[in-house]
Symmetry: C2
Subunit: 248 residues, 2 copies
C-alpha cells in the first residue's frame, strides 16, 4: 500500500503577527500520526486570496489529504471559502444544507446577512458538521476546510477523522537518557545506519533550574514489524557508555 | 522605502509528528513585527536534505530575511548546516572561529568528534554567537540559521536582531467588544472598505466556563500615519449597535 500523506495550511494574519500561537497544527499532527497518516508539511499563510489559492492547489496535488484552518467565519477578512471555490473553479454560493442548519440554529430574526455568509461555499462542497456552534466546515476534493477557533476545530476534526483512509500507525518509542547528546552521537549514528527503515531522532534538553539535562531519543518507523531490537541496541549502547536510560 | 519582508522555516520531524509544539516561530514573529519587518510565511518541514535545500532557496529568493530553526546539533539527524551549504554551492567545512569557540568551551579531552561537527558550516558563513551553550549559529546570504531549542534560539535571535535593517513598526490596536461577530460584520466591512491601507481582523472567542464571549478586533497598518481615526469609527459603530468596547 502506498503511504498516506497529509499537509496542513494554517490561514491567518494573527499567527504571522505573533498575536496568536498556532496550536491547531499540533492537534492535527498528533491525530494523523495515530491514524497512520504521514504529515509532511505545515504552512502558515496570510489571509490573501492569491496566496490561499496557490497553496491549496499545491498541497492538493502533493498530498493525499489537505487540512486548512481559519478564515471561514462571517466577517470580511474570512476569505478562505471563496478563495478555495476559485481555486477549484466552482461557484461560490449558498449550500442549501448549511443554510438550513444555520437557519434552524439561530433564533428567529437573528439569521442575518453576515451569518448567512457562513453557508456560502464552493458549489460541490460536502459539509463537515460542527457540534458546537453549527456553522459547518466543508470538504472539496481532498481538502478539508475547518475553522480556526481551536475547540471548535478539534471537535470537527475528530468527526471527520472517521472517514479518512488510515495507514498502519507509526511505531514509536522515546528513550530518555542522562548523557550529553555529543557523547552518544557517533554510536547512535552507527545504529541509525544499520536500520535505515527506522528514523532515530535525538532531542537534547536542559533544565536551568535543576541544572540537569539529557536527551530524548525518539525511534520511529512506518514500515518495520517491530522496533524492539533497536530499542535494545540503544539501551545497551547507553549502558556501555556508563549512562542510564528509561522508556518514557 | 520598499517593505522589509521575512519568512521562517522550522526544520524538524518532532514538530510534524506532534511531539513538540513549535513556539519558535511565534517568538520570532513578535520580534519581527516590533521591528517593522513583515513576516509573510512560516513553513514547518521534515529533516530531509532535498526538502531543506528547496525551501531555503525558495525563501532566499522571496524574502529580505529568512530564519531557520533546528537541525544544527551534533547528531546524525542534524542535517541543516550541510543542506544549506549544498543549497548555496559552498563547501561544508570547519569554521575556524567556531572551532576555537567550542574548543575553549569544553573541558580538555571532551571536545569530541560529535561536538566538532557543530563547528562545520558553509565555507563563507558568518557566525551568530550563542551566549548559553557556545555552539554558534550562522548567517549565509540573507539566511539566518538558528538552533531549535527555544531558550538558546531566543537569546541568539535577540542578538542578531541588532544587525537587521528595520522598517517602521506596524501600527496596531486591539478593541475588545461584547457583541457577536456576525452582528458587526457588515458595518465592519464598510469601515474596512473606507480604509484600504489598514487591515481590520475580527477574532471571535467563547469561554465555555463563563458562557460569555465576544470579539477582538485588531486594526493594523504598515503605512498609515495614525490608526486613531479608525479606532474611533469602530468604537462609534459598536456603541450604535448597543455594545461595549475597550482597547486591550
Amino acid at each position: 500500500m502506498s503511504k498516506i500523506t497529509a499537509g496542513i495550511i494554517i490561514i491567518g494574519d494573527e499567527i504571522l503577527s505573533g498575536r496568536t500561537l498556532d496550536s491547531n497544527s499540533n492537534f492535527i499532527a498528533k491525530k494523523l500520526i495515530e491514524s497512520g497518516i504521514q504529515l509532511n508539511e505545515i504552512k502558515i499563510i496570510r489571509d490573501d486570496r492569491e496566496v490561499i489559492i496557490s497553496n491549496v492547489l499545491e498541497f492538493h496535488k502533493k498530498y493525499s489529504y489537505v487540512f486548512t484552518t481559519g478564515g471561514i467565519g462571517p466577517t470580511h477578512d474570512d476569505i478562505t471559502s471563496e478563495s478555495i471555490a476559485i481555486a477549484f473553479h466552482q461557484k461560490y454560493c449558498f449550500n442549501k444544507k448549511a443554510y438550513k442548519i444555520l437557519e434552524d440554529y439561530y433564533p428567529k430574526g437573528e439569521f442575518n446577512e453576515s451569518r448567512k455568509k457562513m453557508a456560502k461555499m464552493p458549489e460541490f462542497a460536502k459539509l463537515i458538521f460542527n457540534p458546537l456552534t453549527a456553522a459547518p466546515g466543508f470538504k472539496i476534493k481532498n481538502v478539508y476546510v475547518l475553522p480556526g477557533v481551536p475547540n471548535i476545530m478539534q471537535k470537527m476534526f475528530i468527526r471527520l477523522l472517521d472517514e479518512l483512509v488510515k495507514g498502519s500507525p507509526k511505531k514509536t518509542a522515546t528513550i530518555n537518557i542522562n548523557l550529553y547528546e555529543s557523547s552518544i552521537a557517533l554510536d547512535l549514528e552507527k545504529i541509525q545506519n544499520n536500520y535505515p527503515e527506522c528514523s532515530i531522532g535525538s532531542y537534547p534538553y536542559y533544565n536551568y533550574i535543576s541544572k540537569s539535562g539529557g536527551v530524548n531519543i525518539v525511534i520511529s518507523s512506518w514500515t518495520l514489524e517491530s522496533i524492539d531490537p533497536i530499542i535494545k541496541k540503544i539501551e545497551e549502547m547507553i549502558s556501555l557508555l556508563g549512562g542510564k536510560s528509561s522508556i518514557v
